[in-house]
């Protein structure tokens, strides 16, 4: 227990900050994933074969390639790509991207592929009559989407999105290879300096279990809220 005390002698405060970091990365990645899903879900549902192909390529490639490989691509290629874009605008200095941004982007793209599939499935399982009815009523496109489709889609999507959240939360442990100090990295540092890996990695496992357990509780509440009336 002494190892977990706060202050200079223990690792309690460091691990607490690392846990907050894990939560922050997971939420950022999940939001970036939603952005990607917002772009790619319409592509996957569109009638154009070409747009369909782009959407399918994204979800197939990302879901078929290991997360770690995607993270390495961003870690080693991220600053290169940004510098290339900057050089077009005439900026030639070295740019280093922060590990938080690289990490949440890499995990975000992965989580986006799963979210896209979830949203596609949810929209496809909405009754066709709903689309037709809102067309017949002459509703404008944004109102049709936000007031008719979205509420029904969310109800169907939330259980699966909770799976995506679990995957995203667990994937953030892989960002530790880029040096971002989240739970896994902090445990690695602590294990190295105290020579007690068994304790610290087990404690990391407990922290992850706690995070998944608490988020499940929270999501269940959301689920109840969105399925009112059913």
């Amino acid at each position: 227990m002494e190892l977990l005390s706060f202050g200079k002698t223990g690792w309690g405060d460091e691990l607490l900050i690392a846990t907050i970091m894990t939560i922050a990365v997971s939420i950022t990645a999940m939001l970036i994933g939603f952005l990607f899903a917002l772009i790619f879900t319409p592509l996957k549902l569109s009638k154009s074969k070409f747009l369909n192909l782009i959407g399918n390529c994204y979800t197939t490639v990302i879901r078929g390639v290991p997360e770690l490989l995607v993270i390495y691509l961003f870690f080693f290629g991220g600053s290169g790509a940004v510098m290339y874009v900057a050089s077009i605008f005439g900026y030639n200095e070295y740019i280093e991207i922060n590990a938080f941004i690289t990490g949440s982007f890499a995990i975000g793209i992965i989580s986006g592929a799963y979210s896209t599939e979830v949203f596609r499935g949810a929209i496809q399982s909405i009754d066709k009559g709903q689309f037709e009815a809102s067309k017949v009523l002459g509703l404008k496109k944004p109102i049709h989407f936000f007031k008719v489709i979205m509420p029904q889609m969310l109800r169907l999507a939330i259980p699966n999105l909770s799976n995506v959240w679990q995957i995203t939360l667990k994937d953030t442990s892989l960002i530790s290879v880029t040096g971002l100090v989240e739970i896994m990295r902090q445990s690695y540092i602590a294990a190295g300096s105290t020579r007690d890996p068994l304790f610290f990695y087990s404690f990391a496992a407990v922290l992850y279990l706690l995070l998944t357990y608490l988020s499940m509780k929270l999501i269940n509440k959301l689920e109840v809220r969105y399925s009112r009336g059913y």
Partner: protein, 223 residues
């Protein structure tokens, strides 16, 4: 685009794919047995036994695979007692540690898949067996298990693909699997995109094969 690098790195990456495939097949075989064992415990009526199986699958599904590998590879070596037993021969090898971690992990997911398959079997089928006077042991092995396997094929196919991606974590415990070699080439040449295309292509090809094999099996065993 450096096409020359892509061509020269291909044989090295293909070589590393062998290790990935070895890790994958070993952990799937062990994992299937572990999964079946815990699925049977899960449908047991004794609350202590089925709670135990539930906790096992909850813990392994609720924590990242990386933590599990690190606990087994770095953590278990710390226990003095273990170092003096025969087990140490296995536990000091990163290769076996990775296989143990992967098997336990995929075992947890497989047990969930099989459990839900067992529970979706219609009671009428079991009752039909009973009324024909078949013993409950034979009903279990000859009726319930074959139906459960068929039911769980699609979900198990996904699990195989997830496990294939999971084997990439072996590179974090010094094993040179496909991802490990890809990372090594990237960090020596600083050409991430080219290497990503080749290594990612190999992974996608494996995903494609697994996907189609499962589809074929589903069609073969459909009723």
């Amino acid at each position: 685009m450096d096409f020359e690098l892509m061509i020269t790195s291909l044989p090295k990456l293909l070589n590393a794919t062998l290790i990935t495939l070895k890790l994958l097949s070993a952990s799937l075989i062990f994992g299937l047995f572990i999964g079946l064992f815990f699925a049977i415990l899960r449908v047991n009526k004794n609350p202590i036994i089925n709670k135990f199986a539930y906790v096992y699958s909850y813990v392994f599904r609720g924590t990242p695979l990386l933590v599990q590998i690190f606990i087994i590879y770095f953590g278990l070596g710390q226990i003095e007692y273990l170092r003096s037993t025969v087990l140490w021969v296995i536990l000091k090898e990163p290769y076996w540690c990775a296989i143990i971690a992967f098997s336990l992990n995929t075992g947890a997911y497989t047990s969930e898949i099989l459990r839900s398959a067992f529970q979706t079997i219609k009671p009428g089928i079991i009752e039909a067996g009973q009324s024909l006077g078949i013993t409950s042991k034979i009903i279990f092995y000859k009726i319930q298990i074959p139906i459960a396997i068929r039911q769980s094929l699609p979900a198990y196919g996904n699990e195989i693909i997830l496990m294939m991606k999971g084997t990439s974590l072996a590179s974090t415990v010094t094993l040179m699997d496909l991802t490990g070699v890809a990372k090594y080439i990237i960090s020596t040449t600083f050409k991430p995109i080219e290497v990503f295309i080749v290594a990612g292509g190999i992974y996608l090809f494996m995903t494609f094969i697994i996907h189609n094999v499962i589809k074929f099996l589903e069609r073969k065993y459909s009723y």
